[in-house]
């Protein structure tokens, strides 16, 4: 607890004290509240069972599995190139980002690397899917608190980004564009100018959201000091992405890991926030969308020419071995542990998805909070159901 900021420490102590107060001040009767599986505030079919004492949560537990699709089993009967079509659907708002770590793992085992232009385009599409993904949750934050306007802005502006992804890959939600050794195709004509224009629009969108939400008194009152995660707890639960950086850990896999991608070729900033509360997590996401638009612009400036596909055999057999590759996806660390036995398909794939870890902290985090705060805490943790259940 030595590294915590003062405010974070106070908020943490307050939440612990609230925990201890439950059932002490008044003799009350507990009740069990079911949130979901179908509820407007759960982003899908997550069910949360909460035992309440008055307005306070004594015990809460998410109940997963309403969307389990068994991808780890299915990969064992697919060939390597076919797996991308499956993993696309894990985090459906940032699909392209799901394909990249798997392809990188297969490339690592085969000992090949995509040509520079393919690495650049991969990184650009990766950041575009982050923008499409996170801009939606920025709008969604308002809905959780009863403000309807931001979500319309989010849907309006996300559409521009989806159009870009569709223009380049042919798929709005499930591009399935990444190949072992490179990409399916080069960028279409006019993509670069169009992208620059959209990036400017997205920065304007960030300003709008910042003005609407982050300067808003109600928003601050509902999120500041709520749902505080100290940094050692965040690390223990394996939280990643904005949730970890919101607790003051300066760690971004895009910067801190050497991968055959283009992030280290341009300058950009990793944002952290010392507070660890709901506000910090939301604020980091906003800054990251801004930063992503800048990364995309800088990458477009330095886009190299050349082929987008390395020379690979038509029938891909991956040599025997094991590889772990993870990347900083919109939701956090997304990684694949790929075991190959030298066949057409993987022997075992362990999919480490960000939301599974991010949501596993919920039983700890919801203890002692008030019922309305459940909603803001869940919204600020930001999960996608497909990413929890896989």
């Amino acid at each position: 607890m030595t590294m915590l900021g003062d405010r974070q420490q106070l908020a943490y102590i307050a939440s612990q004290a609230a925990d201890a107060r439950v059932n002490v001040e008044l003799e009350t009767e507990g009740m069990t509240l079911n949130i979901g599986p179908q509820h407007p505030a759960t982003h899908g079919t997550l069910r949360i069972i909460a035992r309440l004492d008055g307005e306070q949560v004594v015990w809460a537990e998410p109940s997963c599995g309403y969307m389990h699709r068994g991808y780890e089993k299915l990969t064992e009967v697919r060939t390597f190139p076919q797996v991308t079509a499956l993993v696309n659907r894990i985090d459906w708002l940032g699909s392209f980002a799901n394909e990249v770590p798997f392809i990188l793992a297969a490339e690592q085992l085969m000992g090949i690397e995509a040509p520079p232009r393919a690495q650049w385009i991969r990184t650009i599409l990766f950041e575009l899917s982050r923008i499409a993904n996170v801009s939606l949750v920025l709008g969604d934050l308002g809905v959780q608190l009863g403000a309807i306007t931001p979500v319309f802005f989010a849907f309006r502006d996300r559409e521009y980004v989806l159009n870009l992804i569709e223009g380049a890959t042919g798929g709005r939600f499930h591009p399935n564009f990444d190949r072992i050794g490179g990409l399916k195709d080069d960028l279409p004509a006019g993509f670069i100018d169009e992208t620059r224009a959209v990036m400017r629009k997205m920065r304007k969108f960030c300003d709008e959201i910042e003005g609407l939400l982050f300067g808003n008194e109600i928003f601050e009152a509902r999120t500041r000091g709520i749902g505080v995660i100290p940094r050692d707890v965040a690390l223990q639960y394996g939280l990643s992405g904005a949730n970890l950086r919101g607790s003051g850990v300066d760690w971004d896999l895009r910067r801190d890991q050497k991968l055959p991608m283009a992030w280290d070729k341009v300058d950009w900033k990793v944002w952290t926030h010392p507070d660890g509360d709901s506000y910090a997590r939301c604020w980091i996401r906003l800054q990251e969308v801004r930063e992503s638009t800048l990364i995309v612009e800088k990458l477009l400036d330095s886009l190299p020419s050349g082929p987008v596909m390395a020379k690979v055999p038509r029938i891909i057999k991956v040599p025997e071995g094991e590889a772990w590759v993870s990347t900083e996806n919109p939701l956090g660390e997304m990684g694949y542990y790929v075991v190959s036995k030298g066949e057409l398909g993987p022997f075992r794939v362990k999919i480490r998805s960000a939301s599974f870890n991010n949501i596993s902290i919920v039983p700890w985090l919801l203890k002692g909070v008030y019922v309305p705060d459940i909603i803001t805490i869940l919204a600020s943790l930001y999960f996608i159901l497909g990413d929890i259940d896989r």
Binding site: E72, K73, E76, G182, Q257, V308, M309, W324, D389
Partner: protein, 203 residues
């Protein structure tokens, strides 16, 4: 001192085998520890070397699937499947292995820890006391592989119905969809009409 040397030094006798690969600055490390030292290895790495980020925990069933990859022609004679168990990096002696990944969030170096799970008892110590985040991962591994984690507070199913029988990620659990209907995806690796050569490269 390299990361692997540090790890083997603090773990001492617990290390069965270790493995390292990758280019300079991006080295990945595998360490297999004794089954009895599984829990202690985690706490030692956490306390002494600062591997404080819990990434994931899962298991591998090293037995080749008796059903093959489900890509064969169902009318043709089945070729016998080689069922010898070959473990991957850092070897091993049992069919089931648990593996987990810890990362030092300051140096960004990650290590994949592995341990054999005895075939008869299928039990290994739980990590929940060391990393609270292991709770859900162990529940998932328990229902998918049937491995029991001694000391876990609550090994309820996460995904499957309570009365589900069998362990889906074990290799001898059949993927029924592949058995009742042949997979059409095999067309994917047949040569294209027009005689595309083997080393096609970029299309």
């Amino acid at each position: 001192m390299s990361s692997l040397a540090e790890i083997t030094a603090v773990l001492g006798d617990a290390v069965e085998e270790s493995f390292e690969k990758g280019p300079e600055g991006n080295v990945d490390t595998w360490v297999r520890v004794k089954t009895s030292a599984w829990r202690d290895a985690a706490s030692v790495l956490r306390e002494k070397l600062g591997y404080d980020y819990f990434c994931f925990l899962s298991a591998i069933d090293w037995m080749p699937s008796p059903y093959g990859r489900g890509e064969e022609d169902p009318t043709a004679e089945r070729e016998p499947i080689d069922s010898t168990i070959r473990q991957g990096y850092t070897g091993g002696a049992t069919r089931m292995q648990v593996f987990a990944r810890l990362v030092n969030h300051r140096t960004h170096h990650g290590v994949t820890l592995k341990a054999d799970v005895p075939d008869d008892s299928l039990t290994i110590d739980s990590w929940v006391g060391v990393f609270a985040g292991a709770n859900w991962h162990e529940r998932e591994t328990h229902e998918m592989f049937g491995i029991t984690f001694a000391g876990h507070p609550d090994l309820r199913n996460m995904y499957l119905p309570t009365d589900f029988e069998g362990y889906p990620l074990r290799k001898d659990f059949p993927l029924l969809a592949r058995i009742v209907k042949p997979w059409p995806g095999i067309v994917d690796v047949e040569p294209l009409p027009g005689g595309g050569d083997e080393e096609g490269g970029a299309e």
